[in-house]
Amino acid sequence: MRISEFINGHEVSSTETASILCDECRLNLCSEFFAQYASYMLACGATCIRISKNLRRMAAAVGLKVDMIILSHHVTVVCTNQADGMSCQHTKRIAPAGVSFAINTRLSELSWKVAGHKVDIEEAQSIFYRIIKHKKVSEWRIMWLVVAANASFCYLFGGDPGAMAIVAVATLAGYTIKLLTLMRHWDAKIIWLICSFISAIIAAGLTYLPITSTPDWAIAASVLYLIPGIPYINSISDCIDAHYLSAIGRFIHACALTVCIAIGLTAGLVLANIGITV
């Protein structure tokens, strides 16, 4: 007896059925992997144009076409088999990972390996998991670099050594609070508001000491470590590449954090009774 089935209204043999099911599984696997890949690339601070190019490069290597829809919290990837038009879509929540250019770099390298047929999709998936599980440098070690960087900012604005010292102390206090609250998974907006207030009030308070002749420069630089520079730059980059939804999402997120910094700074200035001096 001939074993046959009807798929999409066409009678197909068992061998063909197995082949179609295998293609479906593969399409599903690729679509899920690409959605995960896009989710992590977005989280680690990649621009939409880079994510899109990386996905297309990998998809073309396995005979697929890929489209991506980016929303503020989710990314949807639609994969279409170029041979038979069969498509599959996966939606993933944007990974809760922070900005990491190391992950961005390694995931971009991975896309070239897939495109050059050096690894297949299953292998790429296991490399992907190794990359995202890679341990970051401790934030506490980075803190000292941030303190030095923010004090240097103060110099670039025209601050004197006294102002630089004030900025270093204010940054140290604010950044410590930031790390402690991040460890407790507080909301980012609350963290930004608290840290900006603490840095501003410490900087404003210390400017009453006779150690600096450029107090405004010290207060201005004290909160700059909180500026969400990467979302701002990425939003403009996405806008240039016509990824308007992502651009607006990133811009509003960055604006919300900036408003929190402004509120914290204003509260610090009001409490320390600092007026316009320039």
Partner: protein
């Protein structure tokens, strides 16, 4: 001699600022010293344009960011990293923080004004400083983006 010292100090501190802020974005370790170098060259070029050629801050920031973007495009394929890894942190020392601060400060002062004239004065300060901040940031971003858009092949195949 004094000018050379000023320029060297400008390069040193912009390099330190870029190194520290690059570390926040967790780049590959080999990238950090190049971020500092690119930031130093970008910032000192802006400093020279403002102080020696008397360019406006916005135009000087655009050219400074262009220098950063071009250097990032040149170095990226050699270190097999996306150019953004270098250019984003290297831009940060050019952030017009003092203008942003003055805008926020003036906005805060509008809350404690007595009359219309005083309010208008602080609101004018808020608007003018805020606009300079926005235009400088836009110039910085566009400046560093231009080389990526002009040389897409180098930009997007640097990790190959």
């Amino acid at each position: 001699m004094q000018i050379v010292t000023v320029l060297l100090l400008d390069m040193l501190f912009s390099g330190i600022a870029a190194y520290g802020f690059a570390a926040i974005s967790h780049p590959p370790r080999r990238v950090l010293k190049f971020c500092a170098l690119i930031a130093a060259l970008g910032h000192v070029s802006r400093y020279c344009m403002i102080n020696f050629l008397h360019w406006h801050l916005v135009a000087a920031s655009l050219v400074g960011a262009l220098v950063v973007g071009l250097l990032a495009i040149i170095i990226a394929p050699r270190l097999k990293c996306p150019p953004e890894t270098f250019s984003y942190p290297s831009l940060l020392p050019m952030i017009p923080g003092i203008y942003a601060y003055r805008a926020v400060q003036a906005l805060a002062m509008t809350l404690s004004t007595d009359g219309e004239e005083e309010f208008r004065h602080y609101f004018y300060l808020f608007e003018s400083n805020g606009l300079i901040t926005i235009f400088v940031v836009l110039a910085m971003v566009v400046g560093q983006m231009l080389p990526i858009l002009i040389f897409p092949r180098i930009s997007f195949s640097s990790t190959k």
